[in-house]
């Protein structure tokens, strides 16, 4: 037995060391001496950049400071968050409404900052819900989700949300094709080729207020739309989508969707689409989708159900969409800062094709076609190709760009980042990542004027990076200094969920606009209590509304009696503070949902349905002052038939304790 164990242990060691040798390189080789000084941000000093990182299957958006890698905030978006009461408070519940009802979870994949003239402007960040197709807008004045729009005719909202250079549109392409929402979906799955379609959604963005509106959709062949990028500069007016499964297979895709030597990058002329929509060429399709908006004035959300979308059929307009052949299952299709070059990453291909926008335009003018795919002209590969990066690595996924004409591509299979020159396509440098890198993010790397300086790799696997925490390890981000000729790894840090994609922006573009408090005089919540004198408890049938205030360090009222079993109690808590960073919390025993976290000047509502008779304490959950422990109160719950009158008080014992009642 003992011998067996030793054999297993030795065997394990051999396996482990063999595994070690397959690793990209050891950590000590990858990190050099001055790394710490490059990422050290002293206490009290601010980071140079904000880094917005998708929280993947957590459904949230995380915010890190760079270069320190310090987690600054988790912004709840598509999933409930008990820490902030998101999706639990009555005011935020409508934000998670969909055509399927309240949706408590989603899978947040991509992050993109709003842009003006092709550069990040620090106003909003857009994120996508992958599972129940949605796009959200987060307001960077408050770091809160301001709007969520659901997408009809869409499944696996993966090629989303990508933005045009002046934030005219945010686009969302479906990853899974299928029958449209208003068609009979009860069809054999094997009828994929006949019945399945792919829809690309174009959401327009209000110039001043950022308001989203589903402007139109384009109905396309049933394939998998994986990723997307808007053209910029010379190619402004175009969108590019990578398409895999052009085989239109519907089972065992890992084999059946990699049969074709080339799939496509689809180029869409969205200015043309706009013209067709203006000319009334869009067909109305009846659908059902939710559109939710949060207001910082009423401190509450509204949800509206919409029932119509305009659809253009790609088959009917030959100058709307073009297919560019791209080797083997393209994943990323990334556009360089000039807008001239589009990098297609065939994740199963050994080369990296770079397309030229100028050549594409010429090929279209010359009708240099190589057939038709499901009604869409296919351009000749050679006539649109700028060139191929030869033997770049294994499993290319995503490419970002710096300010010096270089591109950085992630290689999932060979776990490395490869730097190459966009013009002459030569490989300049490569560094290992630990391990299985997905997206990359260069500061400003998707903009017209990259900052360069930092690059982050978002890794799928974290073996051996941090102290072990059970079978599961946190996923990780790795920061590289790319200011010199050679990339240098300077930090890695754990992330929440799956850090799918991220964006960096100089801190001062956001920090200067930060909201510090909500002005109490502007609070238009219908249940606001502006001062303790207005606090009260009101019964409406079996609903009891508590108009409550919170300030360091008490609630008003702190004693409530006359609540009966069968009542629904709504605590509308207004935080009277007008001081930065003094939220108050509100929790009550037996609450089956969560707590509230109420910002200065804000009103927030918790619904509570008592389930038993007795005295129920409530308290503040956010340590607010030396007397925070004292910030509490009691609610008395009586039987449904009780005659105890509704009453409430602060600083008075009401009713005066009646000995007879106590002893009874």
């Amino acid at each position: 037995m003992k011998n067996n164990l030793i054999t297993i242990a030795v065997g394990g060691l051999i396996v482990a060391s063999a595994f070690q040798s397959c690793k990209p390189k050891s950590t000590s080789q990858a990190v050099t001496g001055d790394a710490a000084s490059k990422v050290y941000v002293a206490p009290g000093k601010y980071d140079e950049m904000y880094n917005f990182v998708s929280g993947g299957f957590s459904g949230q958006l995380s915010v890190y400071g760079l270069p320190s890698g310090r987690l600054l905030r988790v912004i709840p978006v598509f999933a409930v968050d008990p820490e902030k009461g998101w999706g639990y408070s009555e005011e935020t519940k409508p934000m998670l409404n969909t055509s399927h009802g309240i949706m408590q979870w989603d899978d947040l994949h991509h992050v993109q900052l709003s842009k003006t003239n092709g550069d990040a402007d620090g106003r909003w960040v857009f994120v996508n819900g992958n599972n129940t197709p949605r796009v959200a807008r987060v307001d960077l004045k408050t770091f809160r989700t301001a709007e969520i729009i659901e997408l009809p005719n869409s499944s696996g909202n993966h090629s989303s949300p990508f933005l045009t250079e002046n934030t005219e549109y945010v686009v969302a392409g479906t990853r899974f094709s299928g029958p449209s929402d208003n068609a009979n979906g009860d069809v054999p799955i094997s009828s994929y080729k006949q019945n399945f379609k792919g829809y690309l959604s174009f959401i327009s963005i209000g110039k001043e207020d950022g308001k989203m509106d589903l402007a139109f959709q384009i109905e396309c062949p049933g394939v998998n739309f994986d990723l997307s990028r808007a053209g910029k500069g010379v190619s402004h007016g175009w969108f590019f989508f990578s398409c895999y499964n052009t085989e239109q297979a519907n089972t065992l895709l890992e084999v059946n969707a990699s049969q074709n030597d080339k799939d496509y990058v689809m180029a869409v002329n969205w200015k043309k689409a706009e013209e067709y929509i203006k000319a009334g060429k869009g067909k109305k399709m009846s659908v059902k989708y939710a559109h939710n908006t949060y207001s910082d004035i009423t401190h509450s959300a509204t949800s509206e159900m919409k029932t119509e979308v305009l659809v253009l059929d790609s088959k009917e307009f030959t100058d709307l969409c073009y297919m560019m052949p791209c080797p083997k299952s393209p994943h990323g299709c990334d556009v360089d800062p000039t807008g001239e070059y589009i990098v297609g990453s065939g994740k199963l291909a050994a080369t990296l094709p770079v397309f030229s926008f100028t050549k594409m335009q010429k090929a279209i003018a010359d009708k240099s076609f190589d057939g038709i795919y499901d009604g869409i002209n296919v351009l000749k590969y050679e006539s649109v190709l700028h060139g191929e990066v030869k033997k770049p690595g294994l499993g290319p996924l995503h490419t970002e760009f710096d300010a010096k004409g270089n591109a950085y591509t992630s290689f999932f299979v060979s776990s490395e980042i490869v730097k190459w020159n966009v013009k002459d396509l030569t490989v300049l440098d490569r560094v290992p990542t630990f391990y299985s890198v997905g997206h990359l993010c260069v500061a400003g790397g998707d903009s017209r004027n990259p900052i360069g300086k930092y690059l982050i790799a978002y890794n799928k696997i974290t073996k051996d990076r941090y102290l072990p925490t059970g079978p599961e390890l946190s996923q990780s981000a790795q920061l590289f200094d790319i200011s010199g000729d050679k990339m240098q790894m300077i930090l890695d840090f754990p992330t929440i969920g799956e850090p799918h994609y991220g964006q960096m922006i100089m801190a001062d573009k956001i920090s200067k606009n930060q909201v510090k408090i909500f002005k109490i005089e502007e609070n238009k919540n219908p249940y606001v209590t502006k001062g303790e004198g207005e606090s009260k408890v009101v019964r409406e049938g079996n609903k009891v509304h508590v108009y409550m205030t919170a300030i360091r360090s008490h609630f008003s009222p702190d004693n409530i009696e006359g609540i009966k079993l069968g009542d629904e109690v709504y605590f509308h808590v207004t935080n009277l503070e007008q001081d930065w960073d003094v939220p108050h919390g509100f929790a009550i025993k037996g609450s089956t949902n969560a707590e509230l976290l109420i910002m200065p000047g804000e009103t927030s509502t918790l619904k509570w349905v008592p389930d038993r008779v007795g005295i129920v304490p409530m308290y503040c959950t956010d340590f607010c002052s030396a007397l925070h422990q004292e910030m509490s109160g009691y609610v008395r719950v009586s039987p449904a038939t009780s005659k105890v009158p509704l009453q409430f008080s602060l600083g008075t014992n009401i009713p005066k304790v009646i000995t007879a009642e106590v002893t009874k």
Partner: protein
């Protein structure tokens, strides 16, 4: 090898620290005393406090302005009376009765618009903090709001 690089990193950090420390002259590495322990700078005027308000720019009139009094009362109800009673009784903070007799108008105005600095510097404010144990929140009063509250405090103390 690993150990050496860690040592090198520690040594490097130590050098880095020494070079960038703001208290260079204190070579023995003793900590700087927290702000509140530092003796008041001689320039501090305990009658006026610290802030933008002076006797001149407050510009008290012989008679109270009833509109300002009413507005001050309304603002107080939203932003102040959760913690301050109008009597002498202490709630979270001290009662307001007599405050305009204990303190100069400019001290009051500076305190309510600039509480953080005042609590750090003013001996009277610090004495009150020892009693109340809650730092008065900055309620982000505008100049006008602060002035109206002062008018209401004067009324509360019997001014006409």
């Amino acid at each position: 090898m690993k150990k050496i690089s860690i040592l090198a990193a520690i040594a490097f950090l130590a050098i880095f620290e020494a070079c960038s420390s703001p208290a260079k002259e204190e070579s023995n590495g003793s900590h700087e005393a927290p702000k509140s322990m530092v003796a008041d700078p001689p320039s501090y005027d305990p009658d006026r406090g610290e802030g933008k308000w002076t006797e001149e720019n407050i510009n008290l009139k012989e008679e109270l302005n009833p509109e300002w009094v009413a507005s001050g009362e309304s603002i107080s109800n939203t932003k102040c009376t959760s913690c301050h009673k109008l009597t002498a009784e202490k709630l979270v903070g001290p009662g307001w009765e007599g405050v305009t007799k204990r303190r100069k108008p400019e001290w009051i105005m500076n305190f309510i618009t600039n509480p953080d600095v005042m609590i750090d510097k003013d001996p009277e404010a610090q004495a009150m903090l020892e009693l109340c144990l809650v730092r008065m929140p900055n309620q982000n009063l505008s100049d006008g709001e602060a002035r109206n509250i002062l008018e209401f405090m004067l009324k509360n103390d019997g001014a006409k």
